[in-house]
């Protein structure tokens, strides 16, 4: 199962008890942290996110509201000393910033910290469970969205039936791949009769800070859930463009054109206290929209 838990849904300045951007994507007990604004580690405590389950951190860009909480979290990981290793994916200058801060404090982290520079559309993680990619968005400084695509699981054996057919254990992995089995006497046991078809893997995209940009669509087409920023209501389209952000209707339009199933909106400007207008305006374009609310977990399916 793939889920996303929102830790911060506000833009630049903390306001109205909303915090800067951070969210946790969870798949089968592994937590992937996406952005890490100031106070993220405190939000993790508040919302009982298991910090020890984080092995990969993705930073979309180097505006402070997306990464000022990282150095504190890295230190806390060191003090809790429960990590094997940690992979951080971010634009290049982040490594210099973090290493400088560790150096002046004479801090030596008790775990391996690996920096991976992101500099264009690329696959960042690809294993048996998941594929994680990044894609460029249209923001004032180099900025990247991230896609999380669960691998489709292998076929599941109906073990009673498999045993009944006396299929050797060495052939089980072939059955999971979908092969039929031919008995020594030439009888064919059809795969469909002894296995079940798994549900397709789920797909989530974090679209980062961005102007309205249709180039995003190719990366998120048909996804189960996307998070798209809506810094401003739609009457501030000009301001959104000038500041490299999006409005409600723009986020809804991207979701609609990409044919996704569900849209989460966030990164609300600190000028707004009430969020209901964001939901109403976005829904007028794309009905299956939800506000990204701090502390809430959204299932992706």
């Amino acid at each position: 199962m793939l889920t996303v838990t929102i830790l911060g849904n506000n833009s630049a300045v903390p306001a109205f008890n909303r915090h800067p951007t951070s969210q946790v994507v969870t798949q089968d007990g592994t937590n992937y942290l996406v952005d890490c604004g100031e106070g993220t580690q405190i939000q993790m405590i508040k919302y009982k996110v298991r910090r020890g389950k984080i092995s990969h951190i993705f930073i979309s860009h180097l505006h402070g509201d997306h990464y000022y909480g990282l150095i504190g979290l890295l230190n806390t990981f060191g003090l809790l000393s429960h990590l094997q290793e940690l992979h951080v994916f971010a634009p290049a200058p982040l490594q210099e910033i973090i290493e400088l801060q560790l150096k002046v404090a004479e801090t030596h982290l008790p775990y391996a910290l690996h920096f991976h520079t992101i500099s264009g559309n690329a696959t960042l993680v690809d294993n048996e469970q998941i594929t994680i990619k990044c894609f460029r968005t249209d923001h004032r400084i180099p900025t990247y969205g991230f896609t999380f695509e669960e691998k489709t699981r292998k076929r599941k054996l109906l073990i009673e039936k498999v045993r009944e057919q006396e299929i050797p254990v060495t052939f089980y992995s072939s059955l999971q791949e979908g092969l039929d089995y031919t008995k020594p006497d030439g009888t064919v046991v059809y795969n469909a009769d002894i296995t079940t078809t798994p549900a397709p893997g789920n797909k989530y995209a974090f679209c980062a800070d961005t102007r309205y940009d249709e180039r995003i669509i190719e990366h998120i087409r048909g996804f189960d859930l996307i998070y798209h920023e809506t810094t401003y209501l739609d009457n501030l389209q000009e301001q959104a463009f000038a500041r490299f952000h999006s409005t409600t209707r723009q986020a809804g339009t991207i979701a609609l054109k990409a044919g996704v199933k569900r849209l989460l909106i966030g990164h609300f400007s600190s000028k707004y206290n009430e969020l209901e207008p964001f939901l109403e305006e976005t829904k007028s374009v794309f009905a299956n929209t939800s506000l990204a609310m701090e502390g809430q977990t959204y299932e992706i399916s």
Copy 2:
């Protein structure tokens, strides 16, 4: 009036809803920020500290729990754009860290930001209202405590009596300095009869992170209030020494030997949930002790 408001009273890792070090010293409407751990700007909102009244920030040392919130606060000041200028006093590498972070974000702050390097015992601010000094403490990396000494105010004129004596207005400032007035006919009007003696200026010291170090005493002797760290209870003296911190009884002993009037204790280790034992142990050495509690303001008089 001089006060100190506690924004964070915990050591390294946030825990039990306690936050890393930060406090605000206020004198006559001017706020002086001392240390700025992660989340300080959020604590300022929570406890209604007027951010626009901050013009000086003092960072004791470059362990993260004392300054990771600074870069976010500097950005927020920029977005609120209500500051004339800001003076930051800190060990040297801080300027490089902050400037690197501003550079990669392509952020140009809309106010003048002045860095002042502290590197030994020195006077940092000296004006008509206050003298602020720093002094070295015994910690793993260069670390400084800060003293805030209100200037003794000028004598206050008993204006009815001054007028009765027909003293010219041009002589009023001399009266405030304590001079007697001699009338044209040679009669002397004694200063003590037409002015009142002001209360002496109050004195507060923030003793930063430190091992037990009697060299601190000379800087804080006879102060009205001092804040001294008590990272550990007294049974962990060895651990305190190894980690360059102090215990309850050590803080109380410094207060006692320095002859101060009142002691605030804080910087509690994240391993402790209950704080009452800190208070009890410290009071056994120095009775007039209080726990530094977040959101509370302590008057210095």
